[in-house]
Symmetry: D2
Subunit: 238 residues, 4 copies
Amino acid sequence: MIRVTIYNEYVHEREDEAIREVYPEGIHMTLKQQLEDEEITVRTVTLDDLPDGLSDEVLAETDVLIWWGHIRHREVPDEVAQRVQQAVLKGMGAIFLHSAHHSKPFRLLMGTSCNLTWREDGDSELVWVINPAHPIAQGIGRFIKLEHEEAYGEPFTVPEPDELVFIGTYDGGEVFRSGCCYRKENGRVFYFQPGHESYRTYHHPDVIRVLKNAIHWANPIYRVPELVCPHVKKPLED
Amino acid sequence: MIRVTIYNEYVHEREDEAIREVYPEGIHMTLKQQLEDEEITVRTVTLDDLPDGLSDEVLAETDVLIWWGHIRHREVPDEVAQRVQQAVLKGMGAIFLHSAHHSKPFRLLMGTSCNLTWREDGDSELVWVINPAHPIAQGIGRFIKLEHEEAYGEPFTVPEPDELVFIGTYDGGEVFRSGCCYRKENGRVFYFQPGHESYRTYHHPDVIRVLKNAIHWANPIYRVPELVCPHVKKPLED
Amino acid sequence: MIRVTIYNEYVHEREDEAIREVYPEGIHMTLKQQLEDEEITVRTVTLDDLPDGLSDEVLAETDVLIWWGHIRHREVPDEVAQRVQQAVLKGMGAIFLHSAHHSKPFRLLMGTSCNLTWREDGDSELVWVINPAHPIAQGIGRFIKLEHEEAYGEPFTVPEPDELVFIGTYDGGEVFRSGCCYRKENGRVFYFQPGHESYRTYHHPDVIRVLKNAIHWANPIYRVPELVCPHVKKPLED
Amino acid sequence: MIRVTIYNEYVHEREDEAIREVYPEGIHMTLKQQLEDEEITVRTVTLDDLPDGLSDEVLAETDVLIWWGHIRHREVPDEVAQRVQQAVLKGMGAIFLHSAHHSKPFRLLMGTSCNLTWREDGDSELVWVINPAHPIAQGIGRFIKLEHEEAYGEPFTVPEPDELVFIGTYDGGEVFRSGCCYRKENGRVFYFQPGHESYRTYHHPDVIRVLKNAIHWANPIYRVPELVCPHVKKPLED
């Protein structure tokens, strides 16, 4: 059983009626309902639950963390962001969605500004599969078509992905590296661009398929017991 | 002085009047006229000149080789393709243009099939700068707009580029990794997608700028005298 | 069940008594006996069986190919090397052992000369785990100690590995990237340096563990039905 | 003229007589005296000069920053570490030496814990050239021999280097990725392992040659005026 924790800021859905209609119980609940199956169990956490909702204990019981945040990145306590970073370095998987490109833990893990350009005109998006052999692309055709998405554009100032799985493009002609894989010490990180709060992206079966694939991909095979920088004896005297 | 050799198949321009109007003396001559400056000198070679036009002597006097080919890849002798590969491994730079993705030396260097999808409907293309700090992107704005190009689409079955500099998109909605950098042993390789024979791509100043940048980037700083796999003494007995 | 095919040149073991004592039925049989378990089944092929021993049919029934060769690389037919390359590009896994760095299919896949330095003085080797979270390193401690190995040294002229798992060092002080992972189109390739014919390397349980791990890692999740470069319709007209 | 700023903690050399004998005016002055030439000018900063010694103004006038620190990493103000990180992301080059693997700005840029193992027994080290075509390896033979160095060992928990230039090994048999190149947004970062305070490493001409090469390699060709995440118009309406 893969233990997934979904963090959702959960602000838009409570404050904006149009968005609430898309995600009545919040993006986290929409995701939970679709991601849970015989191999995946999900707990959810929102901004209001922090910092305790993402305590060391919770993270120790989390195999893969999914993060959605947008307008309240700054209210996430620094200690939570650092805990998430440390948990990933020790082996926890992490999936950052859409505007989580600017979340504190993603920026800590990337080491860069994670900037991009953006435009919100309700464009449709084609999310193209670049690497059909990648585990995260299994079951997806040549592309996913999303009726409406926020247009994200390059340059996306992240490190060169270890593996690039998707590139998106929009009616307006922008391109964006929409699915980026990173190994960060002992943990795996996947960034996936689709998922603006006002659109029905997380109701799209292909998007759910990508997220399930990513959960399996990021599920840790190795956990470091503690972070260390040890003094050692000579190798052959150990 | 950087010594550039341009190989152009030179078939379309002689056989098709519409193409000849775009490149009256051949793509190689259009490129030569625009690329030569106080730092770059160009010699040209066509399919008719092979194999001697790309002899070991010519390659030894070439710092950067530019390759354009399309419908006569198979007529390039295997020995020429292997010579080009070996020259790159020893340090020569190489720039492969457009349909040269399927040329013999490019495939030898990549080790993969270098397939892609294609569609020729006269779409316009936006070639986006992904990495504005890269030497090859210097002097280019957010994107290059090409009035007409052949649409190349993913998956482009090359190894993950060491550095991805450009991504292109077309009216029809395809995306393509249009500018890909590779280090291959001691040589540098750049693949650049724009340049279908029927369009005026190589008259576009931004395209020429990219090619000049790429020539400087690929210009070798190190040449291996010969390829070897030597038996050696113990390091401290040398 | 993962279907493994082991190719072994099988020359040393028949021609040299000292080597035959180490691998009485050949390296392929020593490997087969130790690698087969409830998840892995092995068939073996030797140089004498080529080209039919590695026909398209055999490769189609192979999930992961293991390759050991040394002094008869040139006798492997080019058609076999190309078949192996194509099978990997379509998704088959491949593990190249020791002097297979110079085998024809490995060089085709890498696109480089795959040279190195070498010295055969019976040094002991420490094979260090660089990336303890990698699937191929599971179950291995900080390093594997091999009593005797041929010393391979840098520069090892392969492309920068997608993931570097092991670095080896020897009594004499050389270093070598001993465990290198590559994605090649739809297939995964692992190069592993230990395994000189005169030493007992393939009797070492940690070496067998690495190979079992590598078989699971390279086992394909995706196979391309045929290699294509298709003309396509506009994405939204498909 | 490349404007280099060297930051040195400058504690050991003042507090320990044996170390002062090796670097009488501090490691920063030894480096400055050897690095300055007709193309490189150096200013120096020590821990006592912080935070103003590395103000935004100083960093704006710095093309390449060299960082040496060991036992007082924590006393470097967070604001300074963040300023350095931001300057690199905008284009400044940075070279981190030896125990600076644990410095605040290096860890911010890497996003990982940057741990390693260590042992201080006065071993000699061989620093092997892995990539002889790399600009940073120019002028170096097969390896650099250092009479005495602290032994650093793997796993070194940094992201997979974009380019690996050197691997070191020691009498005791450890291996370590001693020369690692990274692109971080618009800036280039080089980590170089040699340089323990008690040894004469920075008096070795090959080490100075590596540092000069690295300065030229990291010298920025592109600077971002400010960090932004802009809302944009449609590409073709700009």
